[in-house]
Each structure stands twice: as structure tokens, then as C-alpha cells.
Symmetry: C2
Subunit: 394 residues, 2 copies
């Protein structure tokens, strides 16, 4: 492998040609992949390779290797629209299911910052722009319908990732599963409530329909706070193996879900349960900035880059009807918000009741205290799902 990589000019430009100076070092690899750094005197690169099974669950849970092919395609596509927020790809080998990327030195996972109650600047602004641009520019608003259809079709085969999400997000938390795990016995009552809540399960099933069959835009697919790396002056979005063509607003669900999970986790004991901490106030600011920047950038694109088959300029601005154009935009932004609210609830519920707990709550040692904040997450998640279509703004 090393000899193969040493023939790639983009890699030797960083590591140098003398492979005896290359040192391989394993990085923390998430649940699904092998991730290594190769270090040399002059610099480092990051090597990501698919594993044929789900790393976190062991070799019994096979996963198709070609997810990295979909990830590669998605990174390339998002990078076209937001070049500074995606890792630079130095080499891709579809036969080895291997991708070499720039090594992101000095970056920290957003989750780590949040768990340490550290702020960072322009988070909402940058992510709002990223979401607006990647949604708009991969949709029928910008692309010709046949191009969007073929793009969506090219992402349809990533079945392992789909199946995983379908089960973990839309089924497990609402039924009995051995791998479910919640803070028992404190949350047993509300877990049982969720399994018997007909209106909630209908709303979840409707959101699952959208997850499965609403291929409007190329989404990141798993934009939680470990998929966002924060550097000194920039932000990078990584880990796109869950990418697919999905609903407007889908990525907001994961992002807001994990921001809210962290928000609730900031109330660490009984004395603070009722008060908003300064850090929580900052988180609310981030969320509002995120939405405002999304709307601003999306509106700009609507007014300047609507070259696709959807809401054609010819039928609106083209005949002087600015009012209808504005109303159509408003309706679409609302639909995005409704989807965002629903998928936020989906993500919060599954992280509390199902497999894949987030570490944000580990800061609260006492299990009962923890259950109070977790219960608030579940109540909030359920509320978002049941009332998703009522939201007007953030």
C-alpha cells in the first residue's frame, strides 16, 4: 500500500518521497472504518478505509464496503459548492475502498468543545451557509431535472447505511430491541410510553417515508457534532458515508438534535435544572444564527441561481410576479423547517432510547440526575415530531 501511495504526486507533495520516513499511526476511527494518519517530517495525511463489518458491533455485523464510494462521490459534490468546508481528497482507490485526505491538524470535534462548554466563532454562520449551498445547489432548484434524477439514482445503492439508519432511528426506539439501552429504571416509564404512543409512531413512520423516498437534495446524512471539526479559523465537515439524496432540511435534524442534546446535558444537577446557563444561551444563539444564515443564503441563491426545473424563473420573476416567487420561497423554507424539526426529534429520541448513546451526558455522573435531562430530551423530541408542521421560525 505504501508503495502505491508513494506513486501519488498529491501525497508525496506532502509526505516527501522517502517512504522510510513515513510513520503509520492509528486514529480513533468512529464506528465504521479504519482511519490512520501517515506522518512524515514535512507533514501528514489521513487514510480512511472501509471495514467489511460494523467496527463498533464486531465482525458479526457485515457492512458493504462500497459505502466509501458513495462517500467519495458526496464529498466531491459538496466540495464543488463549499470547497473550504470539505477535506481535500488526495487519492481514492475504489478497489481497495480507500481514500486519502488532507490531515486536519489542530482541529477538534465540535462535540468535544461543547462538552467542555467552549465557544467558538461563526459556527452557525458557516454551517448555515454550508447547508443552504449544498441543499440548493444539488436540488431541482439549480440542476436540470434529469441531472438531479441521475445524481439521486447514483446514491441509491448505499443499502447498508440506509438499513442501519432505518432500524436505529425509526424502529428501535419505538419497540423492543435487545440493543436498545436507556437509563433504566429511571426512564422505563417514558420508554414504555413511546412504544405505546400511536400518534407519535404514525408521525415517525411519515418521517421514515421521507427518509426513504424524498430524494430532493444531496444530504450529508449524519451531520452530528463529531462530523464537524473546528479549527482555528475554519470548520470542516467529515464522514459522509451516510450521504444520500434526501429531504430538504434532513441535515438540520442531526445537527440540531445533537446541539439540543448538548444543551440539555448542560444542566448537570438539581440546582441548575430550571436556569439557562450562559453556555446554553450561547448555544441558542448558535442555533438562531444557523437558521438565519441558512435562510439568508438560501434566499440569495433563490434570487440569483434558480436555473433548475423547479419554480422556474420564467413563470414567476420572468413575468413580473415577484410576490409569488417570494411566497413560493417562503413555503419551501417552511417545509425545510418542518422537516428539520421532525428529524431533530427522531435523532434525539434514538440517542436516548436506542443504540448509540452520545457522550454528552457522561458529564452527569448521578444516574437519576442524568435521567432528568434525558427525560427532557425525550419530551422535547416527541414534541418536535408531533408538532413539526406548526413551526414558523427558529
Amino acid at each position: 500500500l505504501i508503495s502505491k501511495l508513494s506513486a501519488v504526486p498529491q501525497i508525496t507533495a506532502i509526505l516527501g518521497n522517502d517512504t522510510t520516513n513515513w510513520n503509520v499511526r492509528e486514529l480513533s476511527g468512529g464506528n465504521l472504518n479504519l482511519v490512520h494518519a501517515i506522518d512524515a517530517a514535512a507533514g501528514s495525511v489521513c487514510v480512511k478505509q472501509s471495514l467489511p463489518y460494523f467496527r463498533a458491533l464486531g465482525e458479526d455485523s457485515p457492512m458493504p464496503l462500497d459505502r466509501i464510494v458513495f462517500e467519495h462521490r458526496a464529498i466531491r459534490e459538496h466540495a464543488r459548492h463549499m470547497p473550504n468546508m470539505l477535506p481535500q481528497i488526495l487519492y481514492f482507490d475504489a478497489d481497495l475502498f480507500l481514500m486519502v485526505m488532507e490531515y486536519l491538524d489542530g482541529y477538534t470535534e465540535l462535540r468535544k468543545l461543547l462538552m467542555a462548554s467552549k465557544t467558538c466563532s461563526s459556527l452557525g454562520e458557516q454551517l448555515g451557509d454550508y447547508l443552504a449551498r449544498t441543499m440548493f445547489l444539488t436540488s431541482d432548484l439549480a440542476l436540470s431535472p434529469s441531472e438531479r434524477r441521475l445524481q439521486a439514482a447514483s446514491m441509491a445503492g448505499n443499502w447498508g447505511m440506509f438499513k442501519w439508519m432505518e432500524e436505529l432511528c425509526y424502529t428501535d426506539p419505538y419497540t423492543h430491541r435487545p440493543r436498545n439501552s436507556w437509563n433504566s429504571p429511571y426512564l422505563d416509564d417514558i420508554a414504555s410510553e413511546f412504544r405505546r404512543d400511536g400518534p407519535l409512531k404514525r408521525a415517525v413512520a411519515r418521517l421514515k417515508e421521507k427518509y426513504m423516498a424524498d430524494p430532493a437534495v444531496l444530504v450529508h446524512g449524519d451531520l452530528h457534532t463529531d462530523s464537524i471539526l473546528v479549527g482555528e479559523n475554519s470548520i470542516r465537515v467529515i464522514d459522509m458515508e451516510h450521504s444520500f439524496y434526501g429531504p430538504f432540511g434532513y441535515d438540520f435534524g442531526h445537527l440540531l438534535g445533537h446541539l439540543f442534546l448538548n444543551y440539555f446535558s448542560q444542566n448537570k444537577d438539581a440546582t441548575t435544572f430550571k436556569k439557562q446557563t450562559p453556555y446554553q444561551a450561547w448555544l441558542v444563539d448558535v442555533i438562531q444564527n444557523l437558521w438565519q444564515h441558512f435562510v439568508t443564503e438560501f434566499t440569495l441563491l433563490w434570487n440569483t441561481s434558480r436555473t433548475g426545473g423547479s419554480y422556474p424563473v420564467e413563470l414567476f420573476e420572468g413575468c413580473g410576479d415577484l410576490k409569488s416567487s417570494t411566497l413560493a420561497l417562503k413555503t419551501l423554507v417552511q417545509r425545510t423547517l418542518h422537516n428539520a424539526a421532525g428529524f431533530t426529534g427522531i435523532e434525539m429520541n434514538r440517542r436516548i432510547l436506542g443504540w448509540g448513546a452520545v457522550p454528552d451526558f457522561e458529564n452527569i455522573e448521578d444516574a437519576y440526575c442524568r435521567s432528568i435531562t434525558e427525560r427532557r430530551c425525550l419530551n422535547f423530541g416527541r414534541y418536535l415530531i408531533l408538532n413539526a408542521n406548526r413551526f414558523q421560525d427558529i
Copy 2:
């Protein structure tokens, strides 16, 4: 070609082996294809071949030949779910873009029957079953999500047909196009109204979004009354080159659209404009039967064949919650009806204002008289589009 076909046992079983007895005869071929019969003493077969241009518009309007590949795939798929209503395919040659099918002797286009005010039996029942089965059994309600995704992806490349529909149905009637043609000067005022109607154009654009990117079920794609052949004791559905994965209820749009167009065309002069004729009453019966049979069959499938990823039995009936299952079904049937209403309006408007007038109105010789019924169609079509989401039942 004849020698090639004479090597196909399914064909010689009908025509015999002696090709000197085979006679080729051109059939009326619609707008898009060459259609011939081959007759022999023992029987006939039907040969359909794609033309590289739009037959009705001449050689200047190129059309991709592989639409017949998509048609073949769609017929095969629908035939799995409704074997007696699709033509039997005897031979398919993807290189020649050629399909040989059973010759449907003694069948008449439904439109011809309607134009002659002739009734036929169990029309609504059979078409209701066809629509229920082909919708349900190709959707996420019956298929695994990954299977439905790949099926939908396999139909995404039929760009020529898509483009044609996108322009003719969702753009042309609402703007100026040289190929538009309506009953001028009588309809000039309402045609101009449509071009300036902001709420109408927004609703049309929303329906176009669904046409482009709501791949829920494998639809026929052009189920107007020439695509339905009525025989002595059976009905056949033909001409599936517009087939694609589309919204629940999409096919109702074309079918109901053309039934309503014919309904309005039955009022041939000033003395009958206000009265419902017996034939119109029969048409209303057909439409109600169609919807009732659709709902009945769809409900049966919901209760017996819900094996897919959508609304999983485990989360509803599986834990004794029949009520939520019934409510979820009701909501989905309503969504189907809302889509049906919207697409019905789309089809009616485009047939009156755009290219592709239907012959149903040719029965009304006087242009002014004709404009009265055509105007009623436009008002009805606009009403359906603007109020699509309010309908509860037919």
C-alpha cells in the same frame, strides 16, 4: 428482422413457421413509435419500435430510443402484480429498441367508446384494482426500502419522456409557447388569466416538484383513455414508455383528467349545457366505482401485504394498535386523493391550452359552443389544482 423473429418460439407459436405467410401491416402508432401488426393465417402479433424522433412533431424533435427499455421494464413489473391487464410480451430486443407483444384483437381504445357515448362493464372496478395493486406492490409498503430505491433508480434515466412532460404539463400552459394552441379567440381571456395567476402557478410548481422528485410507486405515467383498451370481457393497459417512479395517485391524474374532459365534452350545445346527460351520470358512476374499488383493494393490501419498510406492521398491529394503523392508512389514501386531484387539473389544463388537444371535443363542431365546455374544463382544472388538499372523498 423477420428471420430474427422467426427464431422466437413464442412468436412462431402464434404465426407459424412459414414466414412467407407473414404479412406486415402498419397500425396507428400514437406520437412516438412505429407500431406494426404481423398477420398470419393462424394469428397476429404486434411489433412496437422506438423512433429516434417525436413522430407527431417530425424529425426535428429527437427522442432517446431507450424509452422502450424503460417501457419493457415497467410492463414486466406491472404484469407481476396485475397479469391480466398488461399485454403479453413475446420478445424484446434492447439493441433494436423493439418489442413484440400479443395482438389485442377485438379491443377498442376507451376514448373511442367514450366519444361514441358507449358504456362498458366493470371499468372502474378493474382500473381501481389495477391502480391499487400497482401502487401498493411497487412501493415501500410492500418492498424493502433498498429494493424500492434500486427499482426507482433503474427508471431514472428516461430523460426524454420526463422532459416532454415537464414542459407540456407544467410550463407551456402557464406561459407563451409557439406550440400552445387553444380555441382562439374564445379562450384568449382565460388563457391570459392562467398566465397571470400566481397562486395557480405556485400550486402547479409544487405538483411539478412531485412529478420530478417523489419516487414512491411505479406509475404507468400516461394513463389516458387511449392507453386503455377495452375488450369483450377484459381490459388492457398499454403504452408505458412514460413510466417512472412517481407519487401515490399520479396515474389517477391522467385517467380522471381524460374522463372529466370527456364528461364536459358530452354537453354539445346550449340546450344541454346545464343538464347532466345519462351518459354523464354513467361516467360519474365509473369515477366513483374507480375510487371505491381503489380504496377497497388498497385497504385489503394494507391489511394483508404490508411487508415493506413503510408503516411496519410490528409498530402498529404488532402491538395491538389497530386504530393507529387505520388512521395511517386513511392519511395515505387522502394524500393519494390530493395528488390525484392536483394531477387531474394539470392534465385537463394542458390538453385545452397546450400542445396535444384531445379529440373528444371534435364532436362539437361550433367553435363557440366548444369553447363553453372547454372553459368549464379549465375552470374545473384550476379549481382542482388550487383546492387539491381539501378533498376528502370522491
